[in-house]
């Protein structure tokens, strides 16, 4: 039965040999990548539990659970305040980015108006402008509005994101037009259709974007550095930088402790949201 053998090609001898060598290569690449990515993290965790004297003497593996670095990090700078600031900015910023992206995409997909395509192309074109270029104008605007050192100043420049609009638009375009028409016939208003049908149907994209936006906001460095001058609104990434600025010898253990604390939300989000993140980025959500 040559046909059936051919159709189940995966189990033939040659297929098996290819996949075996392929497997070895795959694991080799993955191992190198895992070491390259994992080493700095493990090294930081290790340093964060090691007393400074040991570090100076070249001992990087802690012999006991040394927690002073963490205590020092919180005492040297108002680290708890930084974390609160980051959480507020991250959550509020993410929520607003989701809201505005969703509404903009809804208009682009479901509301008929002239010049829709052009507007979308212009929005897409803004993706080519590097964020750094906008820092100066954004700073001037925020300063003119008196929003330096405020949460609003940290959040506002980032609430409109092309990436979010684009992803939502692509997702919403997959919603069959009959669903909108059925809603029209049933008597739903545009807003009711948005809330009852569109929002639940793009939930996958929302989860993906929420994780993504939160991580981007949490890890943001340049804008929080520019738009804050004191600790009232300063975020954790800037706080981390200030741990290094003390005079004389840097306390590497304390800095590592700060870095570990800072990366915990990132790691948690990626750990729990990994699947949704992959799904949202690759699949076109609900069909």
């Amino acid at each position: 039965m040559p046909f059936s053998k051919k159709s189940s090609g995966r189990v033939t001898g040659s297929g098996l040999r290819t996949s075996k060598s392929g497997l070895v290569a795959t694991y080799a690449v993955l191992t190198i990548a895992a070491v390259a990515i994992g080493f700095p993290i493990l090294f930081s965790i290790s340093l964060s539990f090691t007393p400074l004297e040991d570090i100076i003497n070249g001992v990087f593996i802690p012999t006991s659970l040394f927690l002073d670095n963490y205590v020092n990090a919180f005492e040297a700078q108002p680290f708890a305040q930084f974390i609160v600031n980051s959480v507020v900015v991250g959550v509020a910023g993410t929520a607003l980015q989701i809201l505005f992206s969703m509404l903009a995409a809804y208009a682009l997909v479901f509301i008929p108006f002239g010049g829709k395509r052009i507007i979308f192309l212009i929005i897409m074109a803004t993706m080519m402008i590097p964020a750094e270029v906008l820092v100066v104008t954004n700073f001037q605007t925020i300063r003119a509005m008196g929003l330096i050192d405020t949460y609003a100043g940290l959040i506002l420049p980032g609430v409109a994101t092309t990436f979010g609009i684009f992803l939502y638009r692509q997702n919403m375009m997959q919603i069959p037009s009959e669903l909108k028409e059925a809603a029209d016939v049933a008597g739903l208003s545009r807003f009711q259709f948005f809330v009852r049908v569109v929002v639940p149907m793009v939930m996958n994209t929302t989860v993906t974007l929420a994780i993504y936006f939160f991580l981007v906001t949490w890890n943001a460095y340049l804008w929080p550095l520019v738009s804050t001058t004191n600790n009232t609104a300063r975020t954790v990434q800037i706080g981390l930088r200030t741990l290094n600025s003390s005079e004389g010898l840097s306390d590497f253990g304390m800095m590592a402790a700060g870095a570990v604390i800072t990366s915990i939300p990132t790691l948690l989000l990626i750990f729990f949201g990994q699947k949704r993140l992959q799904e949202g980025m690759t699949k076109g959500a609900l069909k």
């Binding site: 069959p176 809603a183 029209d184 016939v185 008597g187 639940p200």
Partner: protein, 390 residues
């Protein structure tokens, strides 16, 4: 008072090409009205205009006596069943059926009552908590119908609702939709490209082609008296056999190649002129008997045995004709066959305009003949032309 009146309704998207070119029709309350035609004929556009999903370019749409050109869909008090069913994937069957009722401010208790009724009528009671993706095609279709039933709107628009179902399910859903319409006294406007659906379900049918109504009438009117060549070939399966016919001293010459002998009586009854388009329904092509006047010899191209009937395809000077005979006839491909092409049972159309000049005669009588006489004729055929039988 007519439920819906279209007066010279026109639709054009670009201002140049007319998708609908002057539609005039009246749809009565409680009527099952079919819009049928090939793809792109404008039938769905007309339905969407009635639903309010598309605007009109000119003309008037009157619903319940009121001008409805500018009315929003929700103001028209209708429901619509879509080809794709338009079920919300994130909602359960229950919520899909009840979708929109709260917007219409139907009290909760009444919603539940309507839901129970609709689910009962359509056999969905056991599936109310499922999501649409857990349902089969037929069940999804029933959910879409239940939504219409639940809304208690007197007008229901259906846009090819059965085209995604398999043949068997389609046949049973045809009966179900018709029963539902009669039970609830709904006015239904039903769009389809399937002329079988049109013939079996509709009280009246409008046949559309190129944005214009070709004919409007009951299914049998369309079948027996097609207004033109388009309707004649569109209604009926297998479709009507068409050929150019010319009268000559030896008889009627089809496509310039096949001669059908004519009696004096036949000649007297021919329409004016010398040349026409002539159409024979497949069931009006009979096996020739020893006494047939219109006996003509043809070559069989192929045949299909359906069990209860046999379709025989034969060549008429370059055009494939189909004969539908009752019973089982074993006929070899390439065999010669004697068939009777009686001009009394043929439709004559103007060769240029395609308009009907003379419909086939005595179709009621024909009905009798096709059931009783065909069997006997078939038996005679096998005796008379044994060479043709395998």
């Amino acid at each position: 008072m007519a439920k819906i009146v279209c007066k010279d309704l026109k639709k054009s998207y670009d201002g140049k090409t007319e998708v609908l070119g002057g539609i005039n029709l009246e749809i009565e309350e409680g009527e099952f009205f079919i819009l049928v035609g090939p793809s792109g004929c404008g039938k769905s556009t007309l339905l969407r205009i009635i639903a309010g999903l598309e605007g009109v370019s000119s003309g008037e749409l009157i619903m319940d006596g009121k001008l409805a050109n500018e009315m929003l869909p929700r103001e028209r008090n209708l429901t619509m069943v879509f080809q794709s069913y338009a079920l919300y994937p994130h909602l359960t069957v229950r919520d899909n059926i009840l979708f929109g009722l709260d917007v219409k401010k139907v009290p909760k208790a009444e919603q539940e009552q309507r839901l129970a009724e609709a689910a009962e009528i359509l056999g969905l009671t056991d599936y109310l908590d499922r999501k649409p993706r857990a349902l089969s095609g037929g069940q999804r279709q029933r959910v879409a119908l239940a939504r219409s039933v639940c809304s208690h709107a007197p007008l229901c628009l259906m846009d090819e609702p059965l085209s995604n179902l398999d043949a068997k399910l389609r046949a049973s859903m045809r009966v179900e939709i018709r029963r539902l319409q009669q039970q609830l006294g709904l006015t239904v406007i039903y769009v389809t490209h399937d002329q079988v659906e049109a013939m079996t379900m509709g009280d009246r049918i409008a046949v559309l082609s190129a944005g214009r109504i070709q004919q409007l009438g009951t299914p049998l009117e369309l079948y027996n008296h097609p207004a033109n060549e388009f309707v004649a070939t569109f209604i009926g399966t297998p479709q009507m056999n068409m050929a150019v016919a010319e009268v000559a001293p030896e008889g009627l010459v089809l496509n310039g190649g096949l001669t059908v002998p004519l009696s004096e009586a036949d000649r007297a009854k021919l329409p004016m002129g010398q040349r026409w388009k002539i159409g024979f329904r497949p069931e009006q092509v009979y096996p020739a008997t020893a006494t047939s006047v219109h006996d003509t010899e043809v070559t069989v191209v192929s045949s299909e045995m359906m069990g209860n009937e046999t379709l025989i395809f034969f060549d008429v000077a370059g055009t494939l004709f189909t004969a539908r005979w009752q019973g089982q006839h074993r006929i070899a491909d390439g065999a010669t066959l004697h068939v009777s092409l009686d001009p009394r049972y043929a439709h004559f159309f103007d060769v240029n305009s395609g308009a009907l000049l003379r419909a086939a005669e005595d179709l009621d009588e024909l009905g009798v003949r096709s059931t009783s006489a065909a069997g006997a004729a078939a038996a005679a055929h096998i005796e008379a032309a044994p060479a043709a039988a395998e």
